[in-house]
């Protein structure tokens, strides 16, 4: 699957793809960042729990040889939440880790994303976080690139 967290949601994207990217970005954000995003978009963080935030497991699958049959590599902790806004919009979140407050905020964000009028402001606020993450990723890539080996061929022989 193309990495959903690499680029921020853009206004012209089809609805589902844009929502998935927004969810991925919310998943990469801290709880404080999510509160900021909601505040910046003027979205109230009040919502009713459809499913109280809950921590569980997912089985992480790999493939034999990297591209073959699937096998179970080991589990990971995941926290999920589902909320409903007063207007009836329903939002979900599934994140690695055990941060229930963060999952609930992300679900609220996803619910607000269902309101077309809230989307541009949410997308703009998420794009800021996306920019910060992209900078960090770029710096990590630059540090890795500095450890790339350059080979020299040593000529030996009679002439």
């Amino acid at each position: 699957m193309p990495s959903a967290s690499q680029t921020p949601p853009e206004p012209g994207m089809p609805d589902l793809a844009a929502r998935r990217q927004a969810m991925a970005w919310a998943g990469a954000a801290t709880a404080d960042e999510l509160r900021d995003v909601l505040a910046q978009a003027g979205a109230l963080p009040e919502a009713e729990n459809l499913r109280a935030p809950e921590t569980g497991l997912v089985m992480v699958r790999g493939r034999i040889g990297g591209d073959g049959r699937a096998f179970n590599a080991g589990e990971a902790t995941v926290t999920r939440a589902a909320v409903r806004l007063p207007g009836g919009e329903i939002g979900f979140a599934y994140h690695l880790g055990r941060d229930r407050a963060r999952a609930r905020l992300a679900a609220i964000l996803d619910a607000h994303w269902q309101r077309p009028e809230a989307r541009p402001a949410l997308a703009a606020a998420l794009a800021e976080i996306a920019g910060r993450r992209a900078d960090a990723a770029q710096q990590a890539a630059r540090k890795a690139a500095a450890t790339r080996v350059t080979f020299f061929t040593l000529a030996r022989g009679e002439d």
Partner: protein, 375 residues
Amino acid sequence: MYVAVKGGEAAIDNAHRLLAEVRRGDPAVPELTVAQIREQMRLLVDRVMTEGSLYDPDLAALALKQARGDVVEAVFLVRAYRTTLPRFGATEPVDTGAMTLARRISATFKDLPGGQVLGPTFDYTHRLVDFGLADAGSPDPAAEAEPEADAAACPRVTDLLGQAGLLEPSPPDEGAPVGDLTREPVDYPADRAVRLQGLARGDEGFLLALGYSTQRGYGRTHPFVGEIRVGAVELAFTPEELGFPVSLGTVALTECQMINQFHGHGAVPPQFTRGYGLVFGQGERKAMAMALVDRSLRAAELGEPVAVPAQDQEFVLAHCDSLQATGFVEHMKLPHYVDFQAELELVRRLRAEHAARAAAPAPASDESPLREAAE
């Protein structure tokens, strides 16, 4: 008759209070935080995640703090924790070809797309103790360079070699159910997917020794490191209520592709065969050992004799789990007073009979003497 013995409650409570105090160490020394363990003992955290079979760096760091740094005890805590949680499902299989690479090396191909990226490695260090680390200080910032154009598309080495038919392809995914040894007991012979699950959570020391044994001649497999890659992959999961995959976030993984000389058999032409290792975090030694043992355990499938421990599925899979092993070994220190009392009675009786036989006159006989071992 079963005799229950009670007692020791106060001693046990006080032992645990003493443990808590000793765990803390000298109160004049600042207490370790979980974040410090997670950031600065990262390879240890990665090992606990891998052998605990649960990706959660903060949980593994906390378990290490509680276990006073005892890896197997920390694995025990992590495994116990996971039994308290419901399982939401399984992720899409990770695509290691799309990994954001922190490190990627091949010992078989010098020039390959994406290059050899050393990343943060102990390789090529001099292994001299750095006494400077005894004092607090900040390291020099890491060097930076412009990533080359081919760095983004970094195919697995096995994908390149496989195209020429020199390398056996991975077993194709035909959508069969994926065996899970945490849900069903292992039946032998075990399917390769189940074996890999067992090896992934197996004890690093045990698998390292077994892998080493194959190199020393106990079931040679002529291995080369086709590729080791370390980095982050995104996990995709499809919740039932949504019906489309969501990104759960990224996990760090280490993958090892071992490629092994193979002479072919029957209808199979000579080609390179493969062993595979995949672990949480940065765990190259474990991933390599896993790949070596994965290949060894394919002996029967590849028409090789099954003669040594590393080729014996049951020997490897039934003994590689540190938690199972420590459970059975360490339970022996718990009270066995009644069992031992029975053994004591038996030995006393046998000794009395032995003494009685020794005192009796030797029977006249031409039987050959019983053979005895040297000790």
